[in-house]
């Protein structure tokens, strides 16, 4: 604006003229325009981009952790001895079966009683309600007669048979004859649990066998599995096979 205009405007009563204001605005149109462009670009793209970068970085960090876990799991699984695991699984399932083990245990205890010269006078299977820590229980009650040391040997043997049984109660009465004979009521607990139905998520860390598990597996491997899981039918005797070739 020429100086004469300013001087002229100052001379006017009432201060600044409309023309001067318009001229002032025109002078600032470029910086204001630039400011507006920057504000608009920041609002539409800038903030969105920065926000996106921050959330992407966060996701990348999560993915890195997840992938490292997956990699570790893959390495552990590919390095595991499949044959050893298979054998350990068989032994472990024999010790704690995945179906009711009462008949198997019953058979095992009867076999042991037979080998120890202990007479089984009576037996009872008692279903127990509920499950504790994922294990289901069945009770077995035996009425036995025999020499004290034979009964003790039977008790000792039941602790070494698979499936795992626990003695919950022992009641003994001496015969009073002085020959060491006793009649004993032994209550056992047998255990079973359903097999795990689902595999954990791929991202879940792999639980490997610790030293305690290995020690327990060694103990379980020592258990004797005396009874079969199925009843083998007796061979036919005294019958004539009608389909046999003459």
């Amino acid at each position: 604006m020429p100086i004469s205009n300013i001087v002229r405007d100052q001379k006017r009563p009432g201060g600044v003229s409309a023309g001067a204001i318009a001229y002032d605005w025109r002078r600032f149109i470029v910086p204001v325009g630039v400011f507006l462009v920057i504000t608009l670009l920041s609002a539409t793209f800038g903030f969105g981009l920065v926000k996106n970068i921050l959330s992407t970085v966060e996701r990348i960090d999560q993915l890195k952790v997840e992938n490292s876990g997956l990699q570790e799991k893959r390495d552990k699984l590919s390095g595991a001895d499949r044959n050893l695991l298979s054998r350990q699984a068989q032994v472990a399932v024999l010790a704690v079966p995945n179906q009711n083990s009462s008949l198997v245990s019953l058979s095992a205890i009867r076999n042991e009683a037979f080998t120890k010269n202990v007479q089984v006078v009576g037996l009872k299977v008692v279903e127990k309600e509920g499950a504790q820590k994922g294990v289901r229980e069945t009770g077995l009650e035996f009425e036995l007669e025999g020499k004290l040391f034979d009964v003790m040997a039977l008790i000792e043997a039941t602790n070494k048979t698979a499936p795992i049984v626990k003695i919950s109660k022992v009641r003994m009465l001496g015969s009073g004859t002085g020959d060491g004979s006793v009649s004993a009521d032994l209550s056992f607990q047998t255990f079973w649990a359903e097999a795990p139905k689902n595999l954990p998520a791929a991202t879940a860390p792999l639980e490997t066998l610790g030293a305690k598990d290995q020690q327990l597996l060694l103990e379980i491997e020592k258990l004797r599995f005396t009874a079969s899981r199925q009843v083998i039918p007796a061979t036919p005797a005294g019958r004539v096979n009608p389909f046999a070739e003459q």
Binding site: K64, R74, A92, L148
Partner: protein
């Protein structure tokens, strides 16, 4: 021209123009700087904006490649699922077995075996009632010497924390019957 004439007073007012033009020149200078730097600022801003977009693109690509790697690892883990099933089965069964076997109480058959192990010659079991946390036994002993021997053996054994005598009787046949509560 006289000093008090109107022309003279107007002339003294115009003297202010000198200072105005000085401020105006400064103002013009600032205005020019702002105008020039506005474009520079805009340019720098645009470059920064393009840089930020580039960084965003880079991170998005990195995320994509990490996702791809994760999918590949999941596929490999899926192919190894039979091993994982075996491992989970073993782990599950061992933890169940530990729960079953891991009781703090001494099993009743162990206490029984320990007591039977220290019975003197000629002694017989009259009655036993043993369960977790409770063990009571009645032993028939042929003479007083064997009673003393039995008590000595019980006291010497470190297996029992508490022994209470419930009763001591002598039968017509000369047999001593000792009833004990052992923990």
């Amino acid at each position: 021209m006289p000093l008090n004439s109107p022309t003279h007073s107007r002339t003294s007012g115009i003297n202010l123009a000198g200072s105005l033009s000085h401020e105006f020149a400064r103002f013009r200078k600032v205005e020019a700087i702002i105008k020039r730097t506005s474009f520079v600022v805009l340019g720098v801003y645009l470059v920064v904006l393009v840089g930020v977009a580039g960084i965003n693109f880079f991170f998005l690509r990195q995320e994509g490649s990490l996702r791809k790697a994760g999918e590949s690892l999941r596929g490999q883990i899926n192919t190894l699922s039979p091993v994982e099933i075996l491992l989970q089965t073993v782990k599950n069964r061992t933890s169940l077995a530990a729960n079953i076997l891991g009781t703090t109480q001494t099993p009743p058959e162990r206490v029984l075996a320990q007591v039977v192990g220290i019975l003197p010659l000629g002694a017989t079991i009259a009655e036993v009632d043993a369960q977790e946390g409770k063990f009571s036994i009645s032993v028939s002993l042929p003479n007083s010497g064997s009673v003393v021997e039995f008590f000595k053996s019980l006291s010497a054994s470190s297996q029992f924390s508490n022994i209470e005598m419930d009763g001591l009787s002598l039968s017509n046949q000369g047999f001593y019957t000792v009833s004990l509560n052992i923990r």
